[in-house]
């Protein structure tokens, strides 16, 4: 059981969702985050104030999956998010100690398996 975290460009978020859907990965959450990963700063000017925007908008995917789904999830995230330019994002995979489905009290493997597949 792993938690796969993908931080991607907001404009690629829809492609990532599509790729995950096609890989039959269900159950995920996303959040809007700001981050910096070495891409070029954008310069913006507001009246006389010029600023370098150090942080860019990113979308963070969090997907808790059983072990057999780790690779498909990573592939889907990478395929959906890749443009080839600096700033495409990162994928982190971390071990997951416990998972609980609140509605039923299911734990661990049952909790990260989509309802329809049980």
């Amino acid at each position: 059981m792993k938690l796969v975290i993908g931080i991607v460009r907001p404009e690629r978020a829809n492609q990532v969702l599509e790729a995950l859907y096609r890989a039959e990965v269900r159950g995920l959450s996303i959040s809007r985050v700001q981050g910096h990963g070495g891409e070029l700063d954008r310069v913006e000017t507001y009246r006389g104030t010029t600023v370098k925007m150090d942080l860019s908008e990113k979308v963070r995917f969090e997907v808790a999956v059983s072990d057999s789904f780790v690779e498909p999830t990573i592939e889907a995230l990478a395929d959906g998010a890749r443009t080839g330019e600096v700033g495409d994002g990162k994928i982190f995979v971390v071990p997951l100690e416990r998972a609980v489905r609140i509605r039923t009290g299911d734990v661990d493997m049952e909790a990260v398996t989509p309802v329809g597949d049980q």
């Binding site: 460009r9 404009e11 829809n14 700001q34 910096h36 700063d41 954008r42 310069v43 913006e44 000017t45 507001y46 104030t49 010029t50 600023v51 370098k52 925007m53 150090d54 942080l55 443009t83 330019e85």
Partner: protein
């Protein structure tokens, strides 16, 4: 032969001019709410840029080509750069020609801004500004001359109170041409591209309706009966189109939508624009109820096509303007307008005159816009790259964001000695 200045008329026309100018800002708000948040400023700026561009082209050449002389096709160059435009009235008018020029100028401005709705979220801002300047002269000024300036359409009897020809049909059918030449947004038809702020859309529609009282109510160029009738009809027709929209929304989705309501207000205002002072209040209400139907159909149908005429200028302005122009030919009444009867009151000829305008104006606007953009596209790229479109036109074209947080913004100090000590902006 010039008439005498009437202070009441002049006062109302000064106010009307300001009201119509405000519409362009209202339109910017309306359009900005309908696009994705990353294109908010660019969309607003396309409208705002018309205030500068069309304001200047109008004063330099547009006004002269539209209103100097009675040439069949085009006016003269006698008023280029406003020469000869002063405090004396034009013809037998009762307001200074300067006020008349400014009032008509605000029409040119908003019409240019309207066209932008077809190409938002992907057209390059520089190309847009060049296009706007040329379009304001080649399309708007010419059609304004035909309908308002003594050109052949008016001469053969077409009645157009406040701009069904040069404003509504011109912008609507030019928008279709522009959408075809510039092409669809890269995500069109693949992803849901949703309005990012429905409140802007509603507020924009409200500002537009408010301004439209000057647009239609001022088009009598006086405080006389035509202005009064057009003013009141401007209240009635959108009210009725709103009701139609509510009912159609209910039938279609069992819910009345807010963005639908905002659209209905615009459609109603457009419907009554050409017919303003020519039809009775009763018929104006009927026009609102019935005229909204083809526009609703157009707005439902267009997104199913491959034509990314993004903000439905054709359905809201082209189709509604077309309907309004024809409505005059059906239900105009001499008893109300003192000028002409429509088919229902015994004069089929008026419908013929209206049909000529409804056929020729869209064709002219479409063809000239199509060719103009094709030529422009041959000398400069019309649209942003896929990457720029993905990042958003606000950052790419303007170097600004509509909803900037300030987090991670590092102040670039212009003072050379301070350059080594960048400061982090306060996110608060």
């Amino acid at each position: 032969m010039s008439g005498a200045i009437d202070s009441g008329d002049t006062a109302w026309m000064l106010i009307s001019t300001a009201l119509v100018l405000l519409m362009t800002v209202g339109l910017g708000l309306f359009y900005a709410g309908l696009v994705r948040s990353k294109n908010t400023l660019n969309t607003f700026m396309m409208c705002l840029s018309a205030l500068g561009i069309a304001g200047v082209t109008w004063a330099l050449v547009g006004y002269s080509l539209a209103f100097d002389g009675e040439g069949a096709i085009i006016g003269g160059l006698g008023n280029v750069a406003l020469s000869g435009v002063g405090f004396e009235p034009r013809g037998d008018g009762t307001i200074p020609e300067l006020v008349f020029m400014a009032f008509q100028g605000t029409f040119c401005i908003i019409t240019v801004a309207l066209v932008s709705g077809a190409v938002v979220e992907r057209m390059r801002f520089g190309a847009w500004m060049v296009f706007a300047a040329l379009w304001s002269v080649l399309v708007y000024a010419v059609l304004a001359h035909w309908a308002f300036g003594g050109g052949w359409l008016a001469a053969q009897g077409t009645l157009d109170f406040a701009g069904g020809v040069p404003v509504e049909m011109a912008s609507g059918f030019s928008a279709l041409a522009a959408a075809l030449v510039v092409g669809a947004r890269k995500d069109y038809g693949r992803q849901a591209l949703l309005p990012h702020n429905a409140v802007y859309v509603l507020l924009g529609a409200g500002v537009l309706w408010f301004g439209w009282f000057g647009f239609n109510g001022g088009s009598g160029l006086s405080t006389g009966d035509p202005s009064v009738l057009a003013f009141v009809n401007t209240m009635l027709t959108p009210a009725c189109s709103l009701i139609t929209w509510f009912v159609l929304d209910l039938i279609r989705g069992r819910k009345v939508t807010a963005i639908g309501a905002a659209t209905a207000i615009i459609v109603g205002c457009v419907l009554i624009t050409p017919a303003g002072a020519y039809i009775s209040p009763g018929w104006a209400m009927a026009l609102g109820f019935v005229g909204a139907l083809p526009c609703y159909a157009g707005i439902m149908w267009r997104p199913r096509t491959r034509v990314d005429e993004t903000l439905d200028v054709l359905a809201a302005h082209g189709v509604a303007g077309f309907t309004g122009i024809l409505a005059i030919g059906l239900v105009a009444q001499v008893g109300w307008n003192g000028v002409a009867d429509g088919l229902f009151y015994g004069d089929a000829g008026q419908l013929g005159s209206q049909a000529v305008a409804a056929a020729v104006a869209p064709a002219y606007a479409f063809v000239v816009t199509f060719v103009l953009l094709k030529l422009l596209g041959a000398v400069m790229p019309l649209r942003a790259s896929e990457h720029e479109e993905a990042v958003g036109m606000d950052v790419y074209a303007h170097g600004e964001e509509a909803y900037v947080t300030g987090e991670g913004a590092i102040l670039v100090l212009h003072d050379r000695e301070e350059k080594q000590r960048p400061m982090v902006a306060d996110p608060g």
